[in-house]
C-alpha cells in the first residue's frame, strides 16, 4: 500500500529523529487507514502525538501504563490493524517487555514499536532513563525485527519500510540531539541489508545508530593520516543480521570492530561475534559500547566520547586493532 509513496523529509537539518518519525507516520496514516497509534503519556515527547492530532479516532493514549500499552497494541493488531506504538525505549524494552515478547512476538503480531530516548541519548536523566539493553533484549525474541537507524532520514526510511514488513518490528531512536548522517533519502534502504558507507580493505567498522556518522568521519581521517583503508558498514538492522556482509568483512579485511550506543553484552557486537565465530575463520575482533556497568550521567556527546564511541575514540581503537599482530602468532594457522 505504501509502495510508490514518495516524499522528501524537508527540514532534516532542524528536525529530530522523532519529529521526522511523527511527520512520516502522519503521511503513512493518510495512505493506510489500518495504521493506528498508541502512546503512554509520552505522545508529545515521542512525537507520535502528531499522528494523534491528525487522526484522533485512530490514536490511543493509555496513560502511564506501558504493560497495558503493549497488551492493547497486541489486541488491535489481532483485529487486522497496524499499531505504531511509542514510548521511551527503557519503558518499552523493560517495563513493557513481557507484553512485547508474549503478546506481540509470540503471536507474531503486526505491531511496529518506535522507541525513543534509546541508548544513552537521555544521558542526563540517569540510569532509570538510559536504555543500553534494548538491542540485546529485543533481539532475543523470535519473530522480532530490530532496527537502529543512523539518523532522522534513515528513521523515515525505516518507518516507511516497516509498514509492509510482516510481523513485529522494533525501531530505536534517540532523544533528539542526534546529528544527521544522510543528506537525503536518495539511497537504497532495505531491512536486513547492511549499507557500506565507506569502502575499505584493511579493517571493517560495523556500526548502528549514532556511531555510523562517527565511524565514517574516523574512516576519512584514517585514510588521510594513516593511509588506512577502512570499511564502514551501517548495520541498521540488528535482526535479521546481514550475515553476508559480516562474512565478506571477515574475508576481505580480517579485522572487525563493532561500535554501538548499547552495552557490549548481547547487542550488535554480540550478533556480529556469533557470525564470526560460526564462520570458523580467524579474525581480529573487538566490541566497543557501554561496558558491563550502568552508564554514568551526562549529555550524550560527552558520554559518547567517554565510552570511545566518538571519532577520536574510534580512531584510537582502529589503530589499536591494526597493531594486533595475530598473524605472527606461532599457533596461528591461516584458514582464510
Amino acid at each position: 500500500m505504501t509502495e510508490g509513496l514518495t516524499w522528501t523529509v524537508y527540514d532534516a537539518d532542524t528536525m529530530t529523529q522523532a519529529e521526522i518519525y511523527g511527520e512520516v507516520l502522519c503521511r503513512l496514516g493518510e495512505e493506510n487507514p489500518k495504521i493506528v497509534g498508541l502512546s503512554a503519556d509520552l505522545a508529545n515527547s515521542t512525537k507520535i502525538g502528531k499522528f494523534g492530532k491528525k487522526f484522533p479516532d485512530r490514536f490511543f493514549n493509555v496513560g502511564i501504563a506501558e504493560q497495558n500499552l503493549f497488551g492493547v497494541s497486541a489486541g488491535l493488531a489481532k483485529t487486522g490493524l497496524i499499531p505504531f506504538v511509542s514510548t521511551m525505549a527503557a519503558f518499552t524494552a523493560m517495563r513493557g517487555v513481557e507484553q512485547v515478547r508474549t503478546d506481540i512476538c509470540y503471536q507474531n503480531l503486526n505491531c511496529k514499536i518506535i522507541a525513543t530516548h534509546a541508548g544513552t541519548s537521555f544521558g542526563s536523566a540517569g540510569t532509570t532513563h538510559h536504555c543500553t539493553e534494548d538491542l540485546a533484549i529485543m533481539r532475543s525474541f523470535a519473530n522480532m525485527t530490530v532496527i537502529a537507524p543512523a539518523d532522522g532520514i534513515e528513521t523515515a526510511k525505516a518507518v516507511k519500510a516497516c509498514v509492509d514488513y510482516p510481523g513485529p518490528v522494533y525501531i530505536r531512536i534517540g532523544r533528539g540531539f542526534e546529528p544527521k548522517f544522510y543528506e537525503n533519502e536518495d539511497y537504497d534502504f532495505q531491512i536486513g541489508k547492511a549499507i557500506e558507507v565507506n569502502e575499505g580493505t584493511d579493517i571493517t567498522l560495523i556500526c548502528c545508530g549514532v556511531t555510523v556518522l562517527q565511524a565514517a568521519e574516523a574512516a576519512k581521517f584514517l585514510k588521510e593520516n594513516d593511509g588506512l583503508s577502512v570499511r564502514v558498514l551501517n548495520m541498521h538492522t540488528i535482526k535479521p543480521l546481514d550475515e553476508e556482509a559480516v562474512l565478506a568483512a571477515v574475508t576481505d579485511t580480517r579485522r572487525i570492530i563493532t561500535f554501538e550506543d548499547h552495552t557490549v553484552l548481547g547487542g550488535l557486537g554480540s550478533a556480529v561475534a556469533d557470525v564470526i565465530a560460526a564462520s570458523g575463520k580467524g579474525c581480529a575482533f573487538v566490541k566497543v559500547g557501554i561496558p558491563d556497568c550502568y552508564c554514568i550521567v551526562g549529555y550524550p556527546e560527552d558520554l559518547c566520547s567517554h565510552y570511545k564511541l566518538d571519532t577520536d575514540g574510534i580512531i584510537d581503537k582502529v589503530r589499536e586493532v591494526m597493531n594486533m599482530d595475530f598473524e605472527e602468532d606461532d599457533d596461528w594457522e591461516d584458514e582464510v
Binding site: G49, V62, G63, I64, A65, S124, T127
Partner: protein, 285 residues
C-alpha cells in the same frame, strides 16, 4: 503534636528556600522537572523538618525512617532538601545533570546520600516501600516508611498491585502520599487517563484515605499524625496540590512539567516565590 503557629512560620521559610533552590538548580542544569517538584515541597519539608527520624550524619543508620520518592522525576526538589538537611553540600548541586555527576535527574541511591531507593521509572516506588515496611515488621523494628507518588503515576498497574499487598499485609508502618496536582505530561490526568473517583479507588483497595490541601502544613500535619497512630490498615494521604506551586507563570501549566529557566525567568520566579511565602505566613496554615 500537630504543628504550632511558630513551627508553621519556620516551615514556610524552609519551603520558600526549597522553592528557590529548585529554581537555581533548574537554571544550573539547563532544565528539570520543575512543576512536579514544586507541588510536593510542603510534604517534603514537613516530613524532613518535623516527622522523620533521620540522622544526616549517618545516612545508613538502620533505625532511620525511610523515604521512597516514587515520582522519581521530582529529584530536582528532593536533592536540595537533602543538601539543606546536611547530607551533602548544596554547592554540589551545581553539577546536577552534568557529565560524571552523581546527580542525574532521577536520583541514584548508590550515589546520593539520603536517598533510600533509586527511582525514576514510575510505578516502582510503592512496591519497594511495601518491601521496606515488611522488612521493618519482620525484623521487629519500629521505623516508618514514607512514600510519595505522582497522581499520573497511579496509572501504573504496579501501584495497585502494591496497594493490594499493603492492605493484605496490613502495613500500618507505611504512610503513602499522592501528590494530586491533576496534571501529567500529555495533559490533565482526567483527560489523559481519568483517576476519579480516586479516593474510592484507594478505599476499595483497603486503604484509609485522608484528603488534604497539600500546601497546608496544618492539614498535612493532622493527616500524618492520624496515619502514624492508625493501626487498622494502611493510610494514603491524597494531597491536593498545584503543579508549579509558588511560581505564578508555572502554576497549573501542563508545559511546565519539564522546563528550563533563563536569568530573567529566574528573577521572576523567585519574586513570585517571595510573594507566595509572604501570603502563606499571613494565613498561618
Amino acid at each position: 503534636m500537630p504543628v504550632t503557629d511558630q513551627e508553621i512560620r519556620l516551615l514556610h521559610e524552609k519551603a520558600c528556600q526549597l522553592r528557590k533552590d529548585i529554581i537555581d538548580i533548574t537554571y544550573w542544569a539547563g532544565g528539570a522537572h520543575i512543576g512536579g517538584a514544586l507541588s510536593m515541597v510542603e510534604m517534603l519539608i514537613l516530613l524532613y523538618y518535623k516527622y522523620m527520624n533521620i540522622d544526616p550524619k549517618n545516612p545508613t543508620w538502620k533505625d532511620r525512617d525511610r523515604m521512597v520518592l516514587s515520582k522519581g522525576h521530582g529529584g530536582v526538589g528532593y536533592a536540595p532538601l537533602l543538601a539543606r538537611k546536611g547530607y551533602f553540600d548544596f554547592q554540589d548541586l551545581k553539577e546536577f545533570n552534568k557529565f560524571k555527576s552523581p546527580f542525574g535527574m532521577h536520583l541514584d541511591s548508590l550515589k546520593v546520600k539520603g536517598v533510600d531507593a533509586s527511582t525514576g521509572s514510575l510505578g516502582h516506588g510503592l512496591p519497594m516501600a511495601v518491601g521496606m515496611a515488611l522488612g521493618a515488621r519482620v525484623q521487629k523494628q519500629s521505623w516508618l516508611t514514607y512514600c510519595i507518588l505522582g497522581d499520573g503515576e497511579c496509572n501504573e498497574g504496579s501501584i495497585w498491585e502494591a496497594a493490594m499487598a499493603a492492605s493484605q499485609f496490613k502495613l500500618t508502618n507505611l504512610i503513602t502520599f499522592v501528590d494530586r496536582n491533576k496534571l501529567m505530561i500529555d495533559g490533565p490526568t482526567e483527560e489523559v487517563m481519568g483517576l476519579e473517583p480516586f479516593a474510592d479507588k484507594w478505599k476499595a483497595f483497603g486503604f484509609i484515605v485522608k484528603e488534604v490541601d497539600g500546601h497546608s502544613f496544618s492539614e498535612l500535619s493532622a493527616a500524618i499524625e492520624y496515619a502514624q497512630s492508625e493501626k487498622k490498615g494502611p493510610v494514603v494521604i491524597i494531597a491536593n496540590t498545584v503543579k508549579g506551586k509558588g511560581i505564578d507563570f508555572m502554576e497549573n501549566q501542563v508545559k511546565w512539567h519539564y522546563g528550563g529557566l533563563d536569568t530573567e525567568l529566574v528573577e521572576k520566579a523567585k519574586a513570585s516565590v517571595d510573594r507566595m511565602a509572604e501570603q502563606a505566613m499571613n494565613l498561618k496554615n
